[in-house]
Symmetry: C2
Subunit: 156 residues, 2 copies
DNA sequence: AGTATTTATCATATTTTCATGAGAAACACA
DNA sequence: TGTGTTTCTCATGAAAATATGATAAATACT
C-alpha cells in the first residue's frame, strides 16, 4: 500500500470516451473518423478505444460503419449530448458512489454521517454531468483560445 | 466491458479509513479500540483494515499500541482532524484527478476543454475535504438523529 | 518468566481495470 | 468477384486494487 489510487471522479475508460467523443464532435465534417485516427491523435490504446466506442455506439450515442470510409460519428447533435450520457456506461456517477461512506442506502431519511454536508456537492457534480453538453466544452475551448466570442470559424 | 466501475470519488480503502476513524472518534472513552472490534463492527476485512490504520498511524493521525489493551486511538483532536488528512494517504484528491480529461497539466494558463466549467466544482470538493472535520460529521450525526441539539449522550 | 493479546509484516490470492493481438465480419470500390 | 479497409469479437495478458492467512514482534498481566 501507500500508492495513491487515481482519485479521479471518472475511470480511465470514461475519460477515453469523453475525449474521443469531444474529438469526434470537432471533426464532424464529412466522413466518419476511424479508431486508428482518434487513437493516434489522442494517444490512446487503439483496440481498447475501439471497444469503448463500440459500447457508445450500442447506446445510440455514436454511429459506427465498417469497411473503407468507415469509422465513428456522433449520432446525436453535440448540443444535445450531455457528458453524463457519455460517461455513464463506464462510471456510476449517481446512485452508488454518491455516499461518501459507501452506504448502499443514503438519503434524507437514512443519512450517513456525511450526508447533509456532502449532499449539495454531490448534487452539483451530478448536475454538471447532466447539464453540460459536448457543445459547451467545444465553445469554451474556442472561447478560451480566441477571446470568448466573435471569430466565426473554429480554430484547428 | 460494460461493467461500471466504482465512480466514487474515493477508493474503497479511503472509505474504510474514513469510517474507521469516525468510529474511533465516537469511541474515545478510555482504552484504545482494537482492529478486531472495528472490523467486526463496521464489516470490514480485518487485516486489510489493520494495514490501512497502520498507515494512518505512521502519518501521525492515529496512535497504535500492541499487546493487551492495545489498539488504535486518535492522535489528533477530532475537531482539528480534516477528512482530507484521513483520505489523502489513499486517494489523490488534488493535483491529478482534478482535470476531467486527465491532463497532466490543466490550469488557467493551459486549460482543457472542461477546465473553466469544472474548476469551481473541483475546488469546492477540495475545500469540502480540507475544511470538514471529523467532529463536524459526528455533530451532524447526532444532530440529524435527535433534532439538531440537546441530548448529551450520543446514540450509537 | 510465562502467557495471552494485539499490532506489524510478509507472502500470496482474488478481483477489477486496463490493455494487446489475432482473426472474423462487414463494407466500399475497382 | 476480388481486394483492401475498418469495425467487431474473442482470447489472452498485465497491472493495480482489494483481500486473506500465517507468523513475528511488542506489550500487559499474572
Amino acid at each position: 500500500m501507500g500508492g495513491q489510487s487515481s482519485g479521479s471522479l471518472i475511470s480511465q475508460t470514461g475519460e477515453y470516451a469523453l475525449r474521443a467523443v469531444l474529438y469526434l464532435a470537432q471533426h464532424q465534417e464529412g466522413d466518419p473518423v476511424s479508431v486508428e485516427t482518434i487513437a493516434e491523435e489522442l494517444s490512446m490504446p487503439r483496440n481498447y478505444l475501439s471497444k469503448t466506442l463500440h459500447l457508445l455506439a450500442k447506446r445510440g450515442i455514436l454511429t459506427s460503419a465498417r469497411g473503407p470510409r468507415g469509422g465513428f460519428e456522433l449520432a446525436v447533435p453535440s448540443d444535445r449530448l450531455s457528458l453524463f450520457e457519455i460517461v455513464e456506461p463506464f462510471d456510476d456517477l449517481e446512485g452508488r458512489g454518491q455516499c461518501l461512506l459507501g452506504r448502499p442506502e443514503c438519503n434524507d431519511q437514512t443519512p450517513c454521517a456525511a450526508h447533509h454536508r456532502w449532499k449539495d456537492l454531490a448534487q452539483r457534480v451530478s448536475t454538471f454531468f447532466r447539464e453540460t453538453t459536448v457543445d459547451d466544452l467545444i465553445a469554451e475551448m474556442n472561447g478560451a483560445a480566441a477571446g470568448a466570442a466573435g471569430n466565426g470559424s473554429g480554430p484547428d
